[in-house]
Symmetry: C2
Subunit: 320 residues, 2 copies
Amino acid sequence: MALPPDATLADVGEFGLIAALTDLFPQGEHVLIGPGDDAAVLRVRTGHVVVSTDLMVEGNHFRRDWASAEDVGHRAAAQNLSDINAMGGRATSLTVGLAAPADLPAAWALDFARGFADDAGAHRRALVGGDLTRAEQVVIAVTVIGTCTTAPVVRSGAEAGDVLALFGRQGWAAGGLAVLGRGFRSPRVLVEAYRRPEPPYDAGRVAAEAGATAMIDVSDGLLADAGHLAEGSAVSIDVRSDAFEIPEPLQAVGAALGADPMQFVLGGGDDHALLATFPDAASVPAGWQVIGAVVAPTEDGPAVTVDGASYDGPAGWTHF
Amino acid sequence: MALPPDATLADVGEFGLIAALTDLFPQGEHVLIGPGDDAAVLRVRTGHVVVSTDLMVEGNHFRRDWASAEDVGHRAAAQNLSDINAMGGRATSLTVGLAAPADLPAAWALDFARGFADDAGAHRRALVGGDLTRAEQVVIAVTVIGTCTTAPVVRSGAEAGDVLALFGRQGWAAGGLAVLGRGFRSPRVLVEAYRRPEPPYDAGRVAAEAGATAMIDVSDGLLADAGHLAEGSAVSIDVRSDAFEIPEPLQAVGAALGADPMQFVLGGGDDHALLATFPDAASVPAGWQVIGAVVAPTEDGPAVTVDGASYDGPAGWTHF
């Protein structure tokens, strides 16, 4: 369905927009009943269903002047699919709720859906349901549903003696966000990493099959999420800074902003890399990089250290 | 966890509030992994999973001065559970995203969760995941997941010759809303019907087992939702107004507001009654009330009529 180029949501109406959106989302074989009824019905082959939900709020999780609608759609899909990845599962289906002002250009909603469909569809996930309503601010609610063929990998399984490993780019999106925050648009590769994260969707299942003891996706920040693993498992975690080679664009941003580029690596979250623990180095699958070790908790309980000491870098990682 | 009585969300923080909220939601046996990890994991006995999602926005779907936080929580659960009911399924699990201003009283969020837990828990549904974030306005995103043990009942199965039947109170919530809109608080039974709908959660499965050919929950309004059935099934539907006995409180509100109380019945949506079609009157289960018939579509396509004519009552039902 073609929409007039300047149409707003109010012009097009809920049902008009839904019709245009539905066209963008092909359904998979596992979808017995797709959008348009009271609920969708999915066929599930295994007996385990994995579910996660997330909100994205304009001004808080994204800015319309920093990212295109397609980028926001792409990111909304990616960050939710990443949660299933972090359980060792495979996402099959998504629902999306979009609350938006009546004067939002209908083209923004369509472009958002295109970005969402682009990311979800590339990995054969179906959009099986949604809701569209009016609000003062754009709020996006995504729920993702998947299946697990191995035991799900939770946050609580790490033990002292395990190795800590990372899969995927880390710190690139944080570097891109720092650049955008100063009004710049380059290095482009970092800005793109922020706008369109590419979580390593197959790495989670491979890690689960390889016997990962605990796993999480890096969404709050590497040290923060290592902290969630440490808390969940009642262990401490030591990250080795020499495990990271700072990529050239992050070095350039560090120099330009007068910041230690290691803070993007240790503090950044938006790349949705995977962080997991394995019983030993031999069980770490190809593509994963060993970046630290699981040790006994301190007297004060679980802690995360960098090179054996508490991390206290300039501008601190919590600032992202 | 006890919160200080005047605390706001900003005072309590995301993690503090999540801890307090999680305590409110017991997990069922089918929940292998509940809230707190990247995703929840559910055991599913049958191979069919039913999914629905909905948004509720402050000022649009509810007003904090018209309904208590507990009422809003109750309604958020009920309207979503009702969608699974309308497929003939049984809801087992819910996720909730809550976006709210930082100065929202933490007690509001807790009371909302109490109302939600109260409704969901009474029917043994588990809250398996959620998200909490900041926004200018309260936005609630609920996804509900269930299972089907019969073939799901969709909107597209009605055929000419079927009978149309209704289960549950109809028009009460619309009467309550009309009263609230004029600044009144009584008749209390109608206001309560609006604030705390009680969808007939078992009627959907019973109808599916009895061979219902199409089904929908009345959320947009009786005639509007009959229209969705008619469109979905490419049939017309005639509703018989003499099938309804106008209950006394609706008569009172009609008299007080100078409105035809039938408009609450034909136009009201918030009771979440079930509307279904059955092959004949003999197959309509106990408790369902026959209110009309499915007929061949008109030359202009599917239509909904009342007593054989297009409905055109004073103040029209679309005003709700």
